[in-house]
């Protein structure tokens, strides 16, 4: 297990290098630069800016300089937000995104697995149809439509929750962003759980358990749930990615200062270092999320062994 983990971590290095190289050169290929503004800068001022941020050097040299910085854990200065380094910006944005992202995942899992199982247990009943219809709706309505509707209802008309911002970080500020982000995931997870639960409940080992006269609660919790969760666990990888990309939109709509907004603003401002920082950071995060998912697999499924 340890050797497998080590091998996976080492194997992630070339993946990340390719990611870094692609992001590095692609953002520089985009027309326009970090210092373009409505009014052109005086040439000597622009030259001075470019020299300060080493943008006047040949690209390979800039790339080498960037990699050198990364090895030392330095993401460089932000071109746009001059008072901050990229590392500082990531450190302020990530905890916010993490709270919203984790919150959304937890809510999605709790609700998704519960209502999915409920639907499976009452297959073809009215409950089942209601759950499935609602989850179809949840999947179909994009969160940039759902979020403003939730804001209008709960913030503008009812006045129960804030319409945006993080405030002092209280839970009430997080509820609407978390729910908007979780809704499509709840829908996906509910459908996955229902399908896989129905299949597991029909399998011979469950019939055996029933025949042995085990209480049904025990059958469900001890025997059915674990194998039924396997597809959910494999979905957690893509779900993490979906929550991260979804949070880009959600953070914008709710004015929440997470990493997603830095990414969007960084791209629009051609803030090369900030975009690179977020890409590298999320790249590492997703690689490790996938590793965790694979390790969880071994624990859940006796047929999977990592030597």
């Amino acid at each position: 297990m340890l050797r497998y983990t080590l091998r996976r971590v080492l194997g992630a290095i070339p993946t990340l290098l390719i990611l870094i190289a692609l992001a590095f050169f692609m953002i520089r290929l985009a027309p326009g630069g970090p210092f373009d503004a409505e009014r052109a800068l005086l040439p000597e001022i622009e030259a001075n800016l470019r020299a300060t941020y080493h943008l006047d050097e040949p690209l390979p040299m800039q790339f080498a300089r960037y990699l050198g910085g990364l090895v030392r854990g330095d993401f460089g200065p932000s071109f746009q937000y001059r008072d901050y380094t990229v590392t500082e910006l990531i450190m302020t944005g990530f905890p916010v995104s993490l709270r919203i992202g984790l919150g959304a995942m937890v809510v999605a899992l709790l609700f998704g697995v519960s209502v999915g199982s409920l639907a499976a247990l009452r297959q073809n009943s009215r409950t089942d149809y209601t759950v499935m219809a609602m989850s179809m709706t949840g999947i179909s309505i994009p969160n940039f439509v759902m979020a403003p509707i939730l804001i209008l209802i709960f913030a503008v008309y009812l006045g129960w929750l804030p319409a945006g911002g993080l405030g002092d970080g209280a839970i009430r500020n997080l509820i609407l962003p978390v729910v908007s982000l979780a809704l499509p995931q709840i829908a996906y997870i509910a459908r996955l759980t229902r399908g896989s639960m129905i299949e597991v409940l029909r399998s011979p080992f469950i019939r055996t358990a029933k025949a042995q006269g085990l209480p049904q609660a025990k059958i469900l919790l001890r025997h059915a749930l674990k194998p039924a969760l396997l597809p959910i666990v494999s979905y957690l990888g893509p779900a993490t990615a979906a929550v991260i990309t979804g949070s880009v939109v959600i953070e914008q709509i709710f004015g929440v200062p997470g990493l997603g907004r830095f990414f969007v603003q960084g791209a629009l401002n051609r803030d090369y270092t900030l975009v690179m920082g977020v890409v590298v950071f999320y790249g590492v995060l997703i690689v490790f999320a996938n590793l965790l998912v694979d390790l969880a697999y071994a624990w859940l499924d006796p047929k999977v062994k990592y030597a």
Binding site: Y81, V107, L110, S114, P148, V156, A163, G165, R172, Q216
Partner: protein, 554 residues
Amino acid sequence: MSRYSIWFATPALIVTCALVACTGGNDADMPAAAARSAPIGGATGMELAESQVLRWGNGSEPQSLDPHGATGSPSSNIQRDLFEGLVNEAPNGDLEPGAAASWDISDDGVVYTFHLRPDARWSNGDPVTAEDWVFSLRRSLDPATLSQYTFIMSPIVNADAVAAGELPTSELGVRAIDDYTLEITLHSPTPYFLGLLTHSATYAVHRPSVEAHGNQFTRAGNLVSNGAFMLEDWVVQSHIKLVRNLEYWDNATTTLDEVWFYVTEDQSAELRRYRADELDITYTVPKRQVAWIDENISDEKAFAPYLATYYYGFNVTRPPFKDNPQLRRALSLAVDREIITGQVTAAGEVPAYGWVPPVNGYVGQQMPEAAWTQEERNTEARRLYAEAGYSGDNPLRTEIMYNTQEDHRRIALAVAAMWKQVLGVEAQILNQEWKVFLDTRRQMVDTQVFRSGWIGDYNDANTFAELLVTGGGINNSGYSNADYDALVRQAARESDLGARAGLLQDAEVILLEDMPIMPIYFYVTSRLKKPWVGGYEPNIMDHHRSKNFYILKH
């Protein structure tokens, strides 16, 4: 089976209960807009609220709080509260003494002597001295500071050479005569110089904290400033919180205790937060919501003329617009500006028949056809169009390029339709993302007609006139007329205000004859303001100091 379904539903129930619990009990501190009942301002209408907190929607995240490093209004709006220039702007935009209590100007108009306030203090209690100003003005121009607004100080002796790194900063024409007397020498009389001193590039920074903290001197806890407020908290991409500066020389007349600037990038989101009473003043409104606003909250509108022009430029370096003023004028005349401001933008914009918006001490020039009816203009447009060699069988085919945004798209569609209807022009509309667009526009290769806009940097016609001189900073038409350049240059050296305005007006007449750019409308600022916000006055620069604001009882 029902027992198990209940078990599975439990987590869902728990979370639901938690959600409900969290929302309960909060009604008190966050009233819904509909629940308000007490009259604004109490019985007298002027009673102040107990909590003097003002919350601004402030657009994007400020780029920096270093007054010498920042660009953009989100930054300067906050800096105007944190810092105080030698000269201040009154709520109506008039100039008034700021950190300098008074000043003398030499008879030849080049030497300004500022008498600083002996009671002016930094937020840590240090006195604000003439040496602080010398240090700051030098720092602002020092190439190592990376200021993008060095041209603001260009009238000062040696400023351009210092900014270019050709002379040491000590050669700048600024000196401290004594602790409270500052002398600034200009290379030629500049009637609008005092107005420039309200720009953040000329603010003073606290030398010991700049030297101690380097580029982190703007952080909460580090920042020492000389304005009515000081920095308490800065959460990037969320908000900036300022609190009253007890050391400020005029603190006795400050009413607000706290000022919050929220990052409100998304205009629709900003409007929702405003409606939920989370903001007192918005940065702007989404254009498409103006009709809704007029119907529902028209008394909360704070819309006012703004020193800015929306225009289309023609690329005059390439055919079909090169050496073709008839064609450019034909296209300009065929645009019905009343329809654009009345039907398309519809927030009270003013149709523009000239380049310079209404500004101090200047009579805006208009194209001669401004007084005509649109029908007469259309007839003249058809005549010029034919003169330029185009006809129904041989129509002009061109492209209108704009940066991707709904409002720009609607205007481009309207203009293209008007050209088609009046002249038979086949115009395609194209859009590009902002930075791509800037790049394309600057290269002057692929552009034919392009969307543009300019917001004046200071309250003087020169901030518009200087842009279109040969090689000017936003001259993306490639316009070059020696007579125009000469008049603008001559005006810069003219000390007689009347004569100077005359020169700039002559320049504008030439510009409107050549028509390298086609003005469409003068902007308005479109803020929303809660009825309990007092002290707001519209002004053409849209500069507001929170110091003049107060919150009425509500």
